[in-house]
Symmetry: C2
Subunit: 205 residues, 2 copies
Amino acid sequence: MQLPSSLLENAVNEFTKLPGIGKKTALRMVLHLLKQDAAIVENFSETIARMRRDIKFCQRCHNISDGDICAICANSMRNQHMICVVENLRDVIAIENTQQFNGTYHILGGIISPLDGIGPDQLNIESLVSRIEKEQVEELVFALSPNIQGDTTIYYIQKKLQHLGCRITTIARGIAFGGELEYADEMTLARSLANRLPVQQYVKS
Amino acid sequence: MQLPSSLLENAVNEFTKLPGIGKKTALRMVLHLLKQDAAIVENFSETIARMRRDIKFCQRCHNISDGDICAICANSMRNQHMICVVENLRDVIAIENTQQFNGTYHILGGIISPLDGIGPDQLNIESLVSRIEKEQVEELVFALSPNIQGDTTIYYIQKKLQHLGCRITTIARGIAFGGELEYADEMTLARSLANRLPVQQYVKS
């Protein structure tokens, strides 16, 4: 596809760098912007640049934030003695959308994965340990990916926290709601059998 | 979906204004940009703003252009005596991609559509007429949408050019290549019967 203007071509190329955007979709977006008022496009471009330039990370939980401390950490209505450990911001948004968790978060920035060259030092583990040492944390809930790397990370952090004596839990793994038994993998099925719940407790939750 | 930062939220909202982008896709794009170097995002934003600010329209054919005259009009290797009349830039790109047309273009900026409040005065018809009066145009090829509005536009322009005596044609309408006869609409089928070609000519093309 040859474009009649290098300005247009450059803009299309910039859009194709975004995830999931091919050249045709990029052209559609650029032509849409070209039809808008100059002020609207200026605002679009400035908002994105400002976002990258001015966004901060919460010094306590590494969530993105407008200030030094994020809105969740600063909210006194939330249980500040409960920490949910997640990989990234996307997980925070997913958990917040359930409206079932009222504690704070700690974003690791990934999980331990030697094959990808990610060791404990690249993750926000030190700050989690010092946070638990300083704050009165009652419970640490792991909400990490249900795979070997996630389990390794849980094991590693739990080892580091042994002497501190706070309650450490992980979100339940099992058959997803609406899922069918016959299509569940063996590992999941085996674990959900081993961790079976009394029906009384299940009905309550 | 509640986001932890208003800077992030604003950026996501800007992306959702683009065609075909929902909130989840927008968030995916913004988080992608957040992970990039500041210079890369600055460049992304600046390229888009510059595109809208600096892009020009060719004074001859209304194509978008880096200068006063677009690359197609300035190209002496192309047949400057042949004009293809199209609705918009997207049509130019589609025709250029076929690599079958070596003339120049004239972008109307739409087609006559009284129901949408688009009359001849809002389109680049005057400049087309004066172009044909001044330049030695041998053939005018209409490549407009195959509907009532397209036909009205062709009829209107052809009336205005009657006294100038240049050859006026329109791209062929008929059954699309790979299409099936039984699914073609009656109008298309009727027209393609009326405008049937000698097989000799068809094989040649």
